[in-house]
C-alpha cells in the first residue's frame, strides 16, 4: 500500500496543480464551460482515487467542493473572486489532508462553511437532473467478426469500436489469425475480427444497437461475464460527472498520452551504464585507430554512432518540460499579487521546452526569487501604473527556449526597471567600485548580484532587502549556468538564465598537472594563457597575476594537490570567472576541449570537496572534474587573508 499511496500522492499533486491552474483560468474567463469541465475532471479523479487509497476525509471534502462547482456549472452560481479564493484554499486543504498534516478538521469545517455560504439555497429538489441512474456495472465479452465484404457496404468499423469505447471501460483485442499471406490479400476485404471486453452500465440492448447496421454482415456474440460490481459511490455528483457530458472517464483519456512513470533511480542506473558504454566505446575507437583493418574500423564507427545516439536519448529520458515548473508559479503569482495589492498577468512561452529533471528542480528556488522580485520591486501598484500611462495590470513574462546545448529562461516584467544612477550610488557606497570608475550599463546592473546589495531602502515582507540576488546567481552557477540582466528605467527588467540542458554531460577543458588529468567546466572558463614570469606579480607568497591591468589571484594545482615532481618549464594558467571573482588555476598543460558524461565519485570520496565528479578518459584513466567554486573556497582557506583582500 505504501508505494501505491505514494503514487497517489504524486498523482494528486499533479491533479491539484492542474486544478489550480484551471481555477485561475476560470477567474479570467468565467464563462468557459471547458474550464469548468477541467476543474471537474481533476477534482473527480482526486476524489475517486482518494477513496481507493483510504483518504476518506479527502473524499468527503472534495464532495462538498464538487457540489459548489456543480452549481457553477449549472449556471446558478457566478464565478467571483471570492469563489476562486475559497476554492484555491480548498485546494490547499486537500493537499494538507493528503499529506496528513495534523488535524485539519477545524479548517475543513471552516472552508466547507464558506463554500456553502457561497451557494444560494437550492430551489426544489435537484434530483432527476442526472441523466443516467447509477445502475450496476456489468462486464460483457463481445466477439465481433465482420464478413470479408463488409467495407463494400460503407461500414465504418473504427467509429463502431470507438462507440463501444465511449460506453465504459473497454479493452479491444484484434484477431489477426484470419489474415492470409501477402499474395492472397485482397486489399478491400476485411480479415480482422475483434474481441472486446466492456465494463459498462449500458444495457445489453444499447450494446446491440451499436452493431445494428452490421449485425447481418458479421458473426456477433455478446455475453455477460461473471464479474459484476456496483458503483460504490452512489451520490448524485458522482453519477453525474461520470455519466454526464463526458462519457469517457478521465483516466481513460489519460491513456491516450501513453506515458509511463519510471522511478528516477532506474533512469540514473541507465545513465550510469550508458556512460560506461561511452567510455568503453571511446577506448574501442582509440584501439581501432591504431590498427589497419578497415572492417574493424567500420564496426568501431558504427558503435560510436550508436553509442552517441543512445547517450543522447538516455539523457533525454530524464528531461521534463518546464511547464511542470510554470504551473506552480501561476498560483504563486496570483497569491503574491493579491498580498501586495498588485495586479499581475503571468504569460508563459516555451512551456514544452525540456530540461533535465534535476535542473528543473534546482531552478525552482532561484526562479521563485526572481518572480518575487519582479512583483515586489518591479511591477508598480495599479493606480501608479495608470498614472504613468501603463495598463493597470502588470505583465510578467516567463519564457524558455533552446539555444544549442543550452536553455535560455527569461523572466521579464514591464515594471519600474532598474535605475543605473541609483545602483551606481549604492555600489560606490558599498565600495564595489571607485568614484572615477566608469563601468558600462550591464556592468552596473551586475552589481545587484553582489552579496548584500539592495536598492530597496526598506525591507519588504515578500522579497526582503534584495538579499538573495547573490544567492540566485550562485545557484544558477552551480547548475553551470549564467545569469544576465537587462533593464530600462520605467519600462521593465529582463533577467536571462542560460542553463545547460543536462547535468549529466559536461563541456569541459581537459588539463594536466603532473600525471593526473582534470576537467574544468568550460562554462566558467574565461581565458587561458601561458604563465610568464612577467605576468606573475607580488613576489613571494603573494600569488597574483597581472592581466590587462587587473590583479587576479591564482592557485597552482600542483601545490594544492601536492603533485610530486618538477613542473614543466612553461606552465599554463586557466582563468575562471565565478560570480564577481576571477581566479587563475595554474596547470602543466592544456589538453583540449572535452565533452563527457559525468560519473559521481561515490560516497567514499564525499569529503573530497574540490571535485564535482569524475570521468573516464578514452585510454581508461580517470580524470577528476574540478568544482571551481569549492576549489576557490579551499584555496581561500589555505591562502587566507592574502586571497580575500584581492577580490574584485
Amino acid at each position: 500500500m505504501g508505494t501505491f499511496s505514494r503514487a497517489f500522492k504524486e498523482e494528486a499533486e499533479e491533479l491539484l496543480l492542474d486544478l489550480e491552474s484551471a481555477l485561475l483560468d476560470l477567474a479570467e474567463s468565467p464563462d468557459d464551460p471547458e474550464l469548468i469541465d477541467r476543474v471537474f475532471r481533476s477534482l473527480h479523479t482526486i476524489k475517486g482515487s482518494g477513496g481507493m487509497f483510504g483518504f476518506e476525509e479527502v473524499v468527503a471534502f472534495t464532495h462538498e467542493f464538487e457540489s459548489v462547482l456543480d452549481r457553477v456549472r449549472d449556471g446558478d452560481l457566478p464565478v467571483t473572486q471570492e469563489l476562486i479564493r475559497t476554492t484555491l484554499q480548498a485546494c490547499d486543504l486537500i493537499r494538507g489532508l493528503i499529506d496528513g498534516r495534523g488535524d485539519l478538521s477545524a479548517d475543513v469545517a471552516d472552508t466547507v462553511g464558506t463554500l456553502k455560504s457561497l451557494c444560494p439555497p437550492v430551489e426544489g429538489a435537484d434530483a432527476g437532473t442526472w441523466r443516467r441512474s447509477d445502475g450496476p456495472l456489468v462486464t460483457y465479452r463481445i466477439e465481433f467478426q465482420p464478413m470479408a465484404d463488409i467495407f463494400t457496404f460503407g461500414a465504418n468499423l473504427l467509429s463502431l469500436l470507438n462507440e463501444l469505447r465511449e460506453m465504459g471501460d473497454c479493452v479491444i483485442k484484434a484477431r489477426t489469425g484470419g489474415i492470409p499471406s501477402l499474395e492472397h490479400i485482397a486489399s478491400q476485404q476485411c480479415y480482422i475480427g475483434w474481441e472486446i471486453r466492456l465494463t459498462t452500465d449500458c444495457s445489453l440492448n444499447e450494446i446491440r444497437d451499436v452493431f445494428i447496421f452490421v449485425e447481418d454482415r458479421c458473426a456477433l456474440t455478446i455475453e455477460r461475464t461473471g464479474e459484476e460490481r456496483r458503483i460504490e459511490d452512489d451520490r448524485p455528483g458522482y453519477a453525474q460527472s461520470r455519466a454526464g457530458d463526458h462519457p469517457v472517464e478521465p483516466t481513460l483519456r489519460q491513456e491516450g498520452t501513453a506515458s509511463i512513470r519510471v522511478a528516477a533511480e532506474k533512469l540514473d542506473a541507465l545513465v550510469d551504464l550508458v556512460s560506461e558504454l561511452v567510455t568503453t566505446q571511446a577506448s574501442l575507437s582509440q584501439r581501432t585507430s591504431l590498427q589497419t583493418d578497415p572492417k574493424m574500423t567500420a564496426i568501431a564507427e558504427t558503435v560510436e554512432r550508436l553509442t552517441d545516439e543512445l547517450r543522447d536519448r538516455t539523457i533525454r529520458l530524464r528531461m521534463v518540460p518546464i511547464r511542470t515548473l510554470y504551473v506552480r508559479f501561476r498560483r504563486m503569482v496570483h497569491d503574491l499579487a493579491d498580498a501586495l495589492g498588485k495586479s499581475v498577468d503571468l504569460h508563459t512561452a516555451g512551456d514544452e521546452t525540456e530540461l533535465d529533471k534535476t535542473v528543473i528542480e534546482r531552478l525552482n528556488e532561484p526562479l521563485v526569487h526572481l518572480i518575487r522580485n519582479c512583483i515586489d520591486h518591479g511591477i508598480e501598484p495599479p493606480d501608479y501604473r495608470v498614472a504613468l500611462g501603463k495598463p493597470a495590470k502588470g505583465r510578467l513574462h516567463l519564457s524558455a527556449e533552446h539555444a544549442g546545448h543550452n536553455v535560455l529562461i527569461r523572466v521579464a516584467d514591464d515594471g519600474a526597471g532598474l535605475d543605473p544612477a541609483i545602483i551606481r550610488e549604492k555600489a560606490l557606497a558599498a565600495g564595489l567600485m571607485d568614484a572615477d570608475d566608469d563601468p558600462g550599463e550591464s556592468e552596473i546592473f551586475s552589481f545587484i548580484f553582489a552579496p548584500g546589495f539592495s536598492t530597496k531602502t526598506e525591507a519588504s515582507p515578500v522579497s526582503g532587502r534584495g538579499v538573495g540576488m547573490d544567492v540566485v546567481k550562485e545557484s544558477v552557477e552551480r547548475l553551470r549556468g549564467a545569469i544576465t540582466i537587462s533593464s530600462r528605467k520605467g519600462e521593465g527588467t529582463t533577467i536571462t538564465l542560460k542553463l545547460p540542458l543536462t547535468l549529466a554531460i559536461i563541456d569541459g577543458l581537459l588539463v594536466a598537472a603532473g600525471a593526473q588529468q582534470y576537467v574544468i567546466p568550460l562554462a566558467t572558463v574565461e581565458s587561458c594563457m601561458e604563465l610568464t614570469p612577467a605576468a606573475c606579480r607580488g613576489g613571494r607568497g603573494r600569488q597574483l597575476l597581472n592581466i590587462r591591468e587587473a590583479l587576479i589571484p591564482y592557485v597552482r594545482l600542483r601545490d594544492l594537490f601536492r603533485v610530486a615532481g618538477d613542473p614543466p618549464a612553461v606552465e599554463e594558467v586557466v582563468i575562471v570567472r565565478l560570480s564577481n571573482v576571477r581566479v587563475g588555476f595554474v596547470i602543466d598543460q592544456i589538453v583540449g576541449e572535452y565533452q563527457t558524461v559525468i560519473k559521481s565519485i561515490g560516497r567514499l570520496y564525499r569529503d573530497a570537496r574540490a571535485f564535482s565528479g569524475a570521468t573516464i578518459l578514452a585510454d581508461g584513466t580517470v580524470a577528476l572534474i574540478l568544482d571551481p567554486h569549492r576549489l576557490t573556497e579551499i584555496a581561500e582557506n589555505d591562502e587566507g587573508r592574502r586571497f580575500r583582500e584581492e577580490k574584485l
Binding site: F151, T152, F153, G154, A155, N156, L158, S159, L160, N162, E163, Q188, I212, F213, D216
Partner: protein, 121 residues
C-alpha cells in the same frame, strides 16, 4: 475540410430538415429531389456520404443505391436510407443493394446526427 453529404428526397420538408440539421453540424450539403437528379449531381461533384429516401419518382432509392455502389469511387461510401416502420421488406432490399444503415422515419435531428457520426466517423 468539411465533409459533403448528399440528401435525396422528393419531400421538400424532409430535405430541408436534413439539410438544415447537417449544415448546423458543420457539414456541406447537396440536395437532390430523386434518384436521377442525384446521379446527375454526383457526376458534378463528389460527396462523402449519401442519405436517401426509398420511395421516389423516376429513379427510386433502391436503384440509386445499387447504381452508386457499382461505381468504383463510391464502393466504400456510407449510404443511409430513410425507411418507415412498415417497410421491413424495402429495408432488406436496400441492405442487399448496399446501404450501410438506415433511419426510421419520423426521426429527430439528434438521431440523424448520431447515425451520421456512427458511419462517417
Amino acid at each position: 475540410m468539411a465533409k459533403t453529404i448528399m440528401t435525396v428526397d422528393d419531400s421538400a420538408s424532409v430535405r430541408q430538415m436534413v439539410s438544415f440539421t447537417l449544415k448546423q453540424a458543420g457539414y456541406e450539403v447537396v440536395e437532390a429531389v430523386d434518384g436521377e437528379d442525384a446521379i446527375e449531381k454526383l457526376d458534378d461533384a463528389p460527396v462523402n456520404m449519401l442519405v436517401t429516401d426509398l420511395n421516389m419518382p423516376k429513379k427510386d432509392g433502391i436503384e440509386l443505391i445499387r447504381e452508386v455502389r457499382s461505381r468504383q469511387q463510391y464502393r466504400f461510401m456510407p449510404i443511409i436510407m430513410l425507411t418507415t416502420e412498415s417497410q421491413a421488406e424495402k429495408k432488406q432490399e436496400g441492405k442487399a443493394a448496399g446501404a450501410t444503415g438506415w433511419i426510421v422515419k419520423p426521426f429527430k435531428p439528434e438521431q440523424l446526427l448520431a447515425v451520421i457520426k456512427k458511419v462517417l466517423g
